[in-house]
Symmetry: C2
Subunit: 249 residues, 2 copies
DNA sequence: CAAGAAGCTTGACGTTGGTCAAAGCGGGGT
DNA sequence: ACCCCGCTTTGACCAACGTCAAGCTTCTTG
């Protein structure tokens, strides 16, 4: 193992350098020493296979998890079995922040493809962030961003029609892929129609029908999970008007 | 002004002692000196009249706001004027956390009755929380709780029918009032039918009709904004099943 | 105090999206 | 390579909720 001293910090830097243009999940504006402190806290990354649980609702909360590669969904289920997908999560995103409040995870996190995840023991991050102000601030920002994200989903679920929801969803996926350096207008969905529907507050048949409708309009092509945005402007036009007024584009 | 040295810290303690049983908005497990440090940071509380804006979407974010007395709504509006109420907020709750991520407020906060609010300059709170670990942890917990709250609203908007939403809403208001020492089953709503509808993803007519239906069932009485829960168990029965499976009672 | 505005209730009707059903397709596992 | 199961598509029908409208009550403001 000649690369043993290639600490996971370096691995993380490599991962994160894939996500330029975008604020990274953690290492931001830290000096050399601070980085090595952070490095000491991050546990070696773990691999997950499609379908694996990263954590489950009700489990004791100990750590946050940073996705290095892969794709996850988070979901809550109700007593009678209805499932609500609360988010889809890609590389560079941080999972588990809802567990801090009660020291218990509040949702399930499930890998939708084979993935790699860094574990960040929260109590140690908390100590470290006391010593490194920019880290503390970054944490606050990440949590705040999660709040903003959730609220924009509330707006989607509360105000938008099926077509608007689907258009917003496709554009959101597109934009996040683009941020990570992938093609914006040609991608593979990692989740099923049912999961999309659950996330958007629609039934899977409605998702399917709406995708077909978009295809008939010539706005997108649909080949099972392979989606191409042919006229993304058409989708944008559909949701212009129902997006947040003070979008600081 | 003989009470000048009655610092607003003391006023805050008085306010907060009204909310026993419940985690308070800020002073939690701090010693004497820490309290006085906190006191130095909290700006004198300000009064707001019904209809006043505490902050507006798009304004620069500088402070969080703790409600001492009164009642607020937060809402986002879309470009074509649709409004989504994202929450109703009572004494002891903290507003503005969505502004941290982009240094800009992401929603409007509007007083629904005459209210009194403490301003907490965020940068100073951040410094202070570095010195007082329990304060830092408390902040993380408050933000996490907001995330949990938003996600349970997503579950409501994504999965529940009109009757279930209304029942969940009434029980939520009831429980929060009880926490603050008010009657749980006899209260005045501070918001209009339209605002309730916006929050729940329903039209005001549906809210009105559903309240009437509950009244006909004998579960509640409705006299304009005056609500009495006659058979809260009936409402609970309605939403049992569609609430989060891992509710830690 | 009067008058207008805003909020609430209720009814009739329409539309969206949910439900149920059937059939096609595709991929993973043996 | 084959088979089976799960995912997807599509259609027909239906229910829940939205829309439109009218009339009423309660606040607000001059």
């Amino acid at each position: 193992m000649p690369e043993q001293n290639n600490s996971n910090l370096h691995a993380m830097k490599v991962t994160c350098s894939n996500c330029t243009l975008r604020e990274l999940c953690l290492p931001i504006g830290l000096n050399r020493e601070e980085l090595s402190q952070l490095d000491a806290v991050i546990r070696q990354s773990r691999r997950f296979r499609r379908g694996d649980y990263l954590f489950r609702s009700g489990e004791p909360f100990k750590s946050l998890f940073a996705i290095r590669t892969g794709f996850f969904k988070t979901c809550m289920s109700s007593q009678d079995g209805r499932e609500q997908v609360t988010g889809f999560h890609m590389s560079g995103e941080l999972l588990g922040m809802d567990g801090i409040s009660a020291n218990v995870h509040g949702c399930d996190a499930i890998a939708l493809e084979d993935s790699e995840v860094c574990e960040l023991p929260f109590s140690r991050m908390q100590c470290l962030s006391r010593e490194i102000p920019s880290l503390q601030h970054h944490f606050y920002r990440l949590m705040s961003r999660e709040i903003v994200r959730d609220q924009s989903i509330m707006l989607l679920l509360g105000n938008m029609k099926a077509e608007e929801r689907l258009a917003a969803f496709l554009l959101n996926v597109s934009q996040r892929l683009a941020t990570r350096g992938f093609a914006a207008n040609d991608f593979i969905l990692r989740m099923s129609r049912e999961e999309i529907g659950s996330f958007l507050g629609l039934k899977l048949e409605t998702v399917s029908r709406t995708l077909s409708k978009f295809q008939q309009q010539g706005w997108i092509t649909v080949d099972h999970k392979h989606i191409q945005l042919v006229q993304p402007e058409a989708l944008k036009a559909l949701i212009s008007g129902c997006t947040h007024a003070h979008q600081h584009a």
